[in-house]
Structure formats: C-alpha cells, structure tokens
C-alpha cells in the first residue's frame, strides 16, 4: 500500500481536466444538435416533428450507460473503433442533445402565441420572427433549466469511466486502489466535482440577473 501524497491529488486534478473537457464537448455538441432538434420539434412540417420527437423519445428512454456501451463496444465490433474520449464525447452529445432539445422546445413554445401574431402582423417572415422576437425571449426562459442540465452533464461524465476513459471518478478509483483511503479520496473527488458545478450555478444566476436587467 502506498501512502497518500500530493502526487495523488495532482493526478486527480489532471483527471478533472478530462472531466471538464468531456463536459465541454458534450455541452457544445449537445447545444448544436439540441437547438436543431428543438427547431425541428416546432417545425411546421409534420414529418420533421415526428423524426425529432422519435429521436428524443429513443435517447431519453435509454440509459446513458447503454449509449456509452453501444458507441464504444457496439461500434467497435462493427469496425468503427473509437478512442474512449471520442466514444464518450459522441455518447454525451447524443444524450445531451435529446434533453436540451426538449428543454428548449418548451422554452420556445412558452413564448406567448400573441408574440407570433404581433410580429406576423408587422410583416416579419418566419426566420425573422425566430431570430428577433421568439428566440431572444426563449433564451431568457431557458437559462435556469439549461444550467441545471449542464450540472447533470458534468456529473454524468463519470459514467465514461466504464469504457476506460480516465476522468475524475475513474482517477479516484485508481488512486484508491493503490492507497485504500476511500473516505479521503472520494471526499476530495466530490469536492472537485462541486468546484466545477457550483460556478455554473453562480454564472446562471448572474446571467439571469443580466437578462432581466434589460427589462
């Protein structure tokens, strides 16, 4: 057994960077795909609505763990061998997109119908209505639930450890295996997660204040 030392904590902090990176990938990818899904869900073309809704139902009804297994082991067997970070990034993107898409659809639909009518009567086309009237108001509504989900994503990156990606949770396990000080180590791991998630909540509050200051 090795004595717990500063190098172990350094190792945890390095692993935390991978957690951060994976979170960023998931959030960036999830946002792009999620926005597309949200817009498809409110499209006037029925078949697009059905497709987007089908995708969202499918992903929301599948454990993230299984999505990770599928994209790492499943695709691997089919000849698409992805490195763990790519497989994890892909899985979390697909996963985040389904949830963000649904959250944002709700925020788009929460803007009163009268705002559509008023902008229609002024002659704005559908793109202009979205860009200048509807989405700016949706963004304001979307901040709290979106940040709440971002925090979930940061924590869910820990599942990527099952496909051999060494992020914070997995690093904690590794350190524990050699030192066997689970209480100390996992308390530190928890503290690092908290240090990543708490600023998100703070930023959300600041953003909300800023969004409302202009009113």
């Amino acid at each position: 057994m090795i004595q717990l030392n500063a190098n172990h904590f350094l190792y945890l902090l390095q692993a935390a960077q991978w957690t951060l990176l994976l979170s960023l990938i998931a959030f960036a990818g999830g946002s792009v795909v999620g926005l597309a899904l949200a817009l498809l869900r409110v499209s006037r073309i029925g078949v697009l609505r059905v497709l987007a809704s089908g995708y969202i139902q499918l992903i929301q009804g599948t454990p993230l763990l299984i999505i990770l297994f599928l994209s790492y082991f499943g695709l691997g067997i089919m000849g698409f061998k992805l490195v763990p970070i790519v497989a994890a990034g892909l899985s979390l993107t697909l996963y985040a997109a389904a949830f963000l898409g649904e959250i944002w659809r709700g925020c788009i639909e929460a803007v009163p119908r009268t705002q559509w009518e008023a902008s229609d009567c002024l002659g704005l086309n559908r793109f202009q209505q979205y860009a200048y009237v509807i989405l700016p108001q949706s963004v304001r509504l979307a901040i709290p639930p979106t940040v709440g989900f971002m925090v979930q994503i940061v924590k869910n990156t820990s599942l990527a450890s099952v496909i051999g990606f060494v992020e914070l949770a997995r690093a904690g396990q590794i350190v524990n295996n050699s030192t066997f000080e689970p209480f100390t180590i996992f308390t530190v791991v928890a503290a690092i997660y908290f240090a990543m998630c708490y600023p998100l909540s703070l930023a959300a509050r600041a953003l909300e204040r800023k969004a409302h200051a202009g009113r």
Binding site: T114, Q115, E117, A118, S119, D120, C121, L122, G123, L124, N125, Q128, Y132, V133, P136, Q137, R140, G214, R215
Partner: protein, 258 residues
C-alpha cells in the same frame, strides 16, 4: 332578422371600397362564429364594430388581418384577396393592414424605439437612422417622445398601447385594425389611447375598430356595424343608427352599454 344593408353612405368623400367583406363564414369546429358577414369600407372611413361578447366581432377583425382562415366568402383589402397562399400575398397584406391588439403585444425584450424600428429595418429594409427618425415621428404623434429608450414593462398599459399604435403606424398601413384596444385599461388610460385614435381618424386613416366604447363610436365612427350571432345584425351611419335603431337587439345593446 338583421336589418343589414341599410342605406350606406360614407359621410366622408365617398370613394372605392378599400376593404370589402363578402359573405364571410368562419367556423371553429362545429361552431359557426361568422355566418355570412358582408360590408364594405371606404377609404378614410372609421368603422366601429360593436356587439356582445361572442358575437364574432374580434374574429372578423382577425380574419381581415389574415390571422384566421375562413371557411367561406371573401375579404379583399386594397383590391387584394386576403388569405391567398404564398409569401408575396402575405407581404402585400402586411403592407396594407396594421393591427393593434387588446394585450398590446409589444416585444418585452426590446426598447420602445426598437419595437417600432424592428419591422422598418427588417421588412422595409430602411437604414437604422431612417428607422429611428420614423420612430421619433410616430412617438411624437402618440406623445411618448421621452419613452424612446424605455422597455415595455416600464410603461403603463395606456403608454404601451400607444407604443403599439405607433409601431403599427410607422409602417404606414392603408388600413388599421383595432381589436378592443382599450378593454384592458382603466378609464383614465382609456381616454389617452382613444385620444390618439381620434387624432388618427382626423388625419384620414381608414380604421376598423372593435370596441366597447360607445362614446368613442358615437364621436368618431362614420359607420357602426352591430354584430349579433355571427351576423351583421344592423349597420349604418353612426348618428342614424344610434337615434333610430331598427332591431330590438341593437336598442337593447345600446341601452345596456350606456
């Protein structure tokens, strides 16, 4: 029975019908809200559509604005049929018709000025400077020059409604539609909004107003249309209609509103 098609003469210089409503039918599922409505409006006329709740008057206005599809009949504005498919027809209707709503429907995330200039820059492709100049002009007209940089929620209901009128007016429509624009306001604020509308009428704007303000209808409207059960029950020049109502329903309505 409705005493429709009473002698209709425009007190102002009679000219071509700028809005023509012919036998319009509107149904919401099994409910027939408009049951063959017809009347014409001449350029420069002020029309007050009155009637009880559920008589179909707001629906009619929304049909003229192209916000509702109709199941029968035809509406033309400035010679163009309302409800033709295609974005060009829609754009034409938007150039011709302005609409002011009961709930103001200002854009809460934009300043008063930007509420007014948004369509000027996006739809009319005006420069920001030209649009701002236009905004200043219409804000002066509704007496809100000092509220240029305010946000809607910082304004009273009456002020918001005046901004909404200014926003519509800035696009220089041929016809303006007013859908119970004072119904959400207390009497004092109602007066300031009606004042702006009277000024518009004096300037010769063609206006179709759905209103519960009988005083306003008497003072300003050239033509009054009384709707009942989805039909034009009685209509005619304002003075004539109010002094000699032809139907029991209208005289009853008038006495209940006073």
């Amino acid at each position: 029975m409705p005493a429709a098609e009473a002698t209709r003469e425009a007190p102002r210089a009679p000219s071509e019908a700028i809005v023509r409503i012919q036998d319009v039918v509107k149904e919401f599922g099994p409910l027939r809200v408009l049951d063959g409505v017809s009347f014409d409006i001449a350029r420069g006329q002020v029309v007050a559509i009155v009637g009880r709740s559920g008589s179909g008057k707001s629906t009619l206005l929304r049909c003229i604005a192209g916000l509702e599809t109709t199941q029968g009949g035809a509406i033309t504005v400035c010679g163009h049929a309302v409800g033709r498919p295609g974005s060009a027809a829609r754009a034409q209707l938007r150039r011709d018709v302005g609409m002011v709503f009961q709930s103001y429907n200002l854009f809460p995330h934009l300043t008063v000025e930007r509420n007014i200039t948004l369509a000027l820059t996006l739809v009319k492709k005006q420069s920001r400077a030209a649009a701002n100049a236009k905004a200043a002009e219409v804000l002066a007209m509704v007496g809100l020059t000092d509220k240029r940089t305010a946000y809607p929620e910082q304004l009273s209901g009456g002020q918001q409604q005046r901004v909404a009128i200014a926003r519509s007016l800035a696009l220089s429509p041929q016809v303006m539609l007013f859908d119970e624009v004072t119904s959400a306001l207390d009497p004092e604020l109602t007066a300031e909004v009606l004042g702006v509308m009277e000024e518009l009428a004096r300037r010769g704007m063609t206006m179709i107003t759905v209103t519960h303000e009988m005083g306003f209808a008497r003072r300003v409207a050239d033509l009054v249309v009384f709707m009942h059960k989805g039909k034009v029950w009685e209509s005619g020049p304002t003075a004539e209609l109010f002094t000699t109502p032809k139907t029991a329903e209208f005289s009853q309505f008038v006495s209940s509103e006073l």
